[in-house]
Symmetry: C3
Subunit: 301 residues, 3 copies
């Protein structure tokens, strides 16, 4: 593993190694002591579009390891790099830093960057394409909170069509054994055919629904945000909006943990926040040890 | 003291402790050696509106202590956190960092943040409400430059109506003994009734004037910026503008130190800058040891 | 040397010292170990206009030396410092940091800053005036890649009228012995008379051309970007555009190294990038050890 561009590039054994390393990192964090593993190293955060949360999570991970960070937060506000090719920018910046995290509005930008970089490149989201560190922190959350990934029963809710988070996590989970998939979405936002095809190829069990009702034996409910703009017909949106808002009532008999990639708008009622099974803020925190693990592994080969 | 939200939350003994600690920090700075007291710790600077000077002062303080900083400088330029509630942002970021400094355009935002944060929150200014670290650095400047706070004679000049700096400092000084207050302001910008009421409750002596003339026995002249926009009648502004510009002439017979929260526009003539009694740039510098003290005390309880 | 404002302030012996120190820094970088020479020190990067590449190079240099950085990237996005005089901003910030790198749209801003700063000031580009660290990294590239500066034959191509990079490098090279200058430019973008005058005063050999053809014994071809906007007559631009694009064909018989201050747009064909003599990305990398040398020398006098 030289770069981290797509979850589909990574073998299952590498995923397991990252998850193991993440646990090690989480324990290091708990000691509350200054860590010096990446002392003197520099991460370049090249955010060609803003993504404050992802950027801060990467920066935190690097600084927790004793390293430092340079970068930019939005190319729109800079002038120098406009008009320059991505290739050239990467060739220049990879002469400055030890590792790069790139966020770009165009699909495939991260892959291209990795081809011209002298240092490891981590994809921090490129267009609608890939965001592999999100998938890895989702997997880590499952492992930490459920205790296993094989054999889990997971239910995705909301926008399953456009959300790269859902697609990537489905691909990743399809590498594990006996995972059972449930998908709740309106017709307009159903899981794309190619993701379904992948599950079928692996002979995995899946169910599709329109109504938000949960089976009692689920391990995970994975909520996502439904964006109004996705609907060609506003009346359709109004119809689903209400039923896709998770309240205490929906999970009275369920022990499933609740996950969400955040930000949430109103798809999870605030009354759910304090339930012990609500793990979305913890999930966000887990992004730090997972990104620490990835930085450490790519830099200390 | 778990958070620092308002100067009105702090007991006099805590203020004295902060001032003492600030002196310790100033001495540490003078040794010119790398300090490692907050090595490995991270400050999150959440600036929901820009305030470059305050942000840089906080960042300097953290870095002088060996810590590091993540954050954003203006929410308008980020997209991710728009549409997310302040509560959720705080819950996420307080999972990353060890301490937060928040700047927000809305009154009360800092208090709300402190209620949802897992880590200490410092108010770096919320709306017209509070900016307690400014008040503490003002107090520190007085202590360092006059040698005492009890019994000082202080004269505030300019916009005493809208300036939260003036109000907070008046409240803070009212905790000390025998402070004598002088207020010079046009009718439109006089000190609000509730601040006067506080001084009266504490039985403190105060005087109000319209003309900028200074008594010889003042210890401090505290200048503030008058903003044209505050005046409904422009003619009124033109009338006071000239007389509220401090020149050498005004302080020929005075030993009072000159303070100003900065930025100044033209309310202090440049010829005053080099007088030994002009302390406004030193006051700005004192923001660093004071913020170091606050960071250190909140993190090393 | 207290500040670094203009290449014209520096004596040749200081230039040689900086180049020597830069080599030392490059060797330090190659050890791949954390360097602590500026541990605890803070660089203030005051970018009153954006220049991402220059800013990142300075920040990298400071962090490679174990120091840290505070600053702003574009004054348009901040509000606090608008309306404040440059003098006051410098007096405030120089109370926070140990050294300042300033970028400003106005000629002479850096000199003014150095007069009001309590700490060393480095000019990171002010208007069309000076950008001395670019000149020093150009000289360093020549020394490292050619092995000497005395007696080199260099050919500048493109916009020789407005490019401060070219002017400053010409002045700097005129301090060395027997440098031979070649200038290729359209009539509209010829080297200004005052630069030619300087070469004549030093009795140096120079040649001017319109067509892009290279003599076989050149040591360096220094390409620059031609900006369409410079031409009053668009037809004139269209005429020169094509012939000023460097391709493999132009340098078939040449051993000259290719330099470019970047960003390049299309004045160097991509096929040239992989030739061993193409040094423009290395030149950009050399900015790091050179700026490390400058920071170190100004801070460790």
């Amino acid at each position: 593993m030289k770069h981290l561009i797509s979850i589909r590039d990574i073998k299952k054994e590498d995923i397991l190694k990252i998850l193991e390393k993440s646990e090690e990192m989480e324990k290091l964090l708990q000691t509350n002591k200054a860590i010096k593993r990446l002392d003197g190293k520099i991460l370049g955060t090249l955010f060609f579009e803003p993504s404050t949360r992802t950027r801060l999570s990467f920066e935190t991970a690097m600084k927790r390891l004793g390293g430092s960070v340079i970068g930019f937060t939005d190319i729109k506000n800079t002038s120098t790099m406009k008009g320059e090719s991505l290739k050239d920018t990467i060739r220049v910046i990879s002469g400055y830093v030890d590792i790069i995290a790139i966020r770009h509005p165009k699909d495939g930008a991260s892959r291209l960057a990795s081809e011209y970089s002298k240092v490891p490149v981590i994809n921090a989201g490129d267009g609608s394409n890939q965001h592999p560190t999100q998938t890895l922190l989702d997997l880590y959350t499952i492992k930490r909170e459920i205790g296993k990934i094989d054999g889990i029963k997971i239910c995705f809710v909301g926008d399953l069509k456009y959300g790269r988070t859902v697609h990537s996590l489905c691909y990743a989970l399809s590498m594990f054994k006996n995972v059972e998939f449930h998908f709740i979405a309106p017709d307009e936002l159903k899981l794309p055919r190619e993701v379904i095809a992948e599950l079928e190829r692996k002979d995995l069990t899946y169910y599709e629904y329109k109504d938000m009702e949960f089976k009692d034996d689920l391990d995970i409910i994975y909520m996502t945000r439904i964006q109004k703009e996705r609907f060609p017909d506003l009346a359709e949106y109004e119809k689903v909006k209400g039923i896709y808002k998770l309240t205490k009532k929906h999970i009275l008999n369920s022990k499933a943990i609740i996950m969400h990639p955040l930000p949430r708008v109103d798809e999870i009622d605030e009354s759910v926040d304090n339930l012990p099974q609500s793990k979305y803020f913890k999930q966000s925190f887990y992004g730090v040890p997972v990104r620490m693990a990835i930085l450490d592994m790519l830099l200390n080969k």
